[in-house]
Symmetry: C2
Subunit: 381 residues, 2 copies
């Protein structure tokens, strides 16, 4: 078999050919970065053992790290059996092309990087697979922004996807999500160091704005039960937020924690990429141009498992129930029970282990539409 | 009877004598504004017909307007029977003393206004009643920040309160609330026009910061179901938020709606007062100095009805369940079912009518501890 992949765990960057965005802008020959774990087996254009894992907003292709409890030898996504591939999304800053990347004409992309959608990210990822010589995968899995990409995969390229597992996301952005996400964008774009997105040659970037955005975002990622159990009304050590006069430097413990989350993101992420990727979430709508939401979902052929979190305020569980009611080919439905909120799919290791083992077992018990279409698709792994 | 009140509906402002705050600052002779509806009947220091209504964060003393469905002749809080009194909270800008008020030494209070707590607001309100010659009320009722004041009334001055109705609030601020509320404070205090709170003699105040704070707050007041039903992913008329390049001026409908909420608040409210009042919510903790939360609640003697909203993300219903489990004298518990979220206690008129009629009926069926203490307290209204 001529199909080759980079050494296990090694970041590889591949030019995927030009992408024309859904809104009509051109991105000439962007790069998509990816990593893989486990040996490839099977037919690159038929039945094979590739599990394509999709990261969330500020994630990267190092899925074996950020989902270490579920990816690896003997784990739910067992790399002794499966070949796990994880790409870095278009628009991000972990090896794929985004606003912080070098522009072919010099300097950084900055404001020259167009507004992309979840679909544009899937287009670029599909072009990556084509560049690698891969025309079909056993499954696509992802949560949050990764779940949105997974869902679009099943609608844009159903012929390439045997099964899908969509976690903690909805069929489209809700008005509340757009509201809180545009508040985050506004915190960045109103930062005097934003310079319309072209701050890369300036002494400072919009760090304060990015930190403010992250503090807000974090309050939507973490359930109020979990945050309250950790911090309650405690004061930060050495500070007194209950003094006779207000003082921004005298903080509750939760303020210090959120400040820390903001600083941590500033150290590892780019503000322009954060804006670009958040915008993809605002534009997420599987119904656009497909006759509406439920018609689009009903047209889905790929057996899809839907997973949600009982305490998620960003993508409330009723949104996953909506998906489960309307998807054309529902494989299963599962709910994480957790005080953690949205991030539960990343941190509730025990429950995720059970859910993903269930997903894998179901894919082995349930024929995919491709197996019906072509019996030669059956293969032993 | 020598007890007199201002004409029905008319705003009256009364000096209440100096208030020393919980944190030890002095506020020399603040004014508290109030309005009343319905005739007073009974004994100012015994059984009488006063219902003291407490407004929410940016509310005012005009309860007959903001709670018009439930206050008035023949309504649940029937002003043919009851004498409804509503004060403007200490720290606000609707007639009571706050940061925007004139300071006795000249200029506005601004940063000279101390950080106050919910208890300080109740202290000032109690001093108002004393100044009026009123030593006891039939009931205190309020939601959100008004619910926090109501709860503190039952713990600080139980001898003055026959019954209480506490809506859409918790026994203390949660870490999540402190997180989202300090994000709002930060939006204001990082506005270049904030000037440490002393912007009153400057050409402009921190309008942009206050608007940003309100946009965030509004997302906690309104349930995502209701906002989504109204706006979904719609574009604002004449704008295209799905263009090839991001443009802050091309908005989704929900962005325009939130912008409008921000502008509306800037037109009617003061940023310094918003900071002061939000800070009281951060400091809300009935357990402080009372041996902890549940010990404080268990000590409560006043028969208290607790009301919550099933979709409230700011004060989730489990917080009202916590109150109901731990309060020393629970009168009843009721849940509003609504897509609206936190604000349901202000807008779900039909359900609030039923709940408040139930509350009034229960007060008529249930003896208050004061009735046991002094049988002379019984009276006909």
């Amino acid at each position: 078999m001529s199909f080759t992949l980079p050494p296990e765990g090694e970041l590889q960057r591949v030019g995927v050919g030009s992408v024309t965005t859904e809104a009509g802008a051109a991105i000439p020959d962007p790069t998509i970065a990816f990593q893989r774990w486990g040996e490839f087996r099977g037919d690159p254009f038929g039945a094979n053992n590739v599990l394509l894992v999709e990261h969330a907003l500020t994630g990267d292709s190092n899925a074996a790290e950020w989902w270490c409890e579920v990816i690896g030898p003997g784990k739910a996504l067992d790399t002794d059996t499966w070949c796990v591939i994880c790409t870095n999304a278009l628009g991000s800053c972990y090896g794929s092309t985004g606003p912080a990347s070098e522009h072919p004409d010099g300097g950084r992309w900055g404001s020259r990087f167009p507004a992309i959608s979840i679909r544009d990210q899937v287009t670029a990822e599909k072009q990556l697979l084509a560049a690698l010589g891969l025309g079909r995968v056993r499954a696509v899995l992802g949560g949050s922004m990764g779940g949105a990409r997974t869902l679009e995969w099943t609608l844009m390229y159903p012929e390439m996807v045997d099964y899908a597992c969509v976690l903690a996301v909805s069929a489209r952005a809700s008005a509340w999500q757009i509201g809180i996400q545009t508040a985050q964008l506004s915190a960045i774009t109103r930062d005097p160091n934003w310079h319309g997105g072209d701050y890369y040659d300036k002494p400072s970037g919009p760090d304060a704005g990015l930190a403010a955005a992250r503090r807000l975002a974090h309050l939507t990622y973490r359930g109020e039960l979990e945050i309250d159990e950790r911090f309650g009304t405690s004061s930060q050590a050495g500070e007194n937020p209950l003094g006779a006069y207000r003082d921004d430097d005298q903080r509750f413990a939760v303020q210090s924690y959120l400040d820390h989350q903001g600083v941590k993101l500033v150290e590892r992420f780019d503000a322009g990429c954060y804006v670009t990727l958040t915008e993809t979430l605002n534009r997420h709508d599987v119904g656009r141009g497909r006759g509406g939401l439920n018609k689009a979902l009903a047209s889905s052929k790929v057996p899809t498992m839907i997973v949600g979190v009982d305490t998620d305020i960003l993508y409330p569980y009723h949104q996953q129930e909506h998906l489960s009611r309307n998807l054309g080919n529902l494989l299963a439905m599962s709910k994480l029970s957790s005080p953690v909120g949205h991030d539960a799919f990343l941190v509730e290791a025990r429950q995720m282990d059970i859910i993903l083992r269930k997903f894998i077992a179901l894919t082995e018990q349930t024929p995919s539409p491709h197996d019906f279409a072509s019996r030669s698709g059956a293969y032993d792994i």
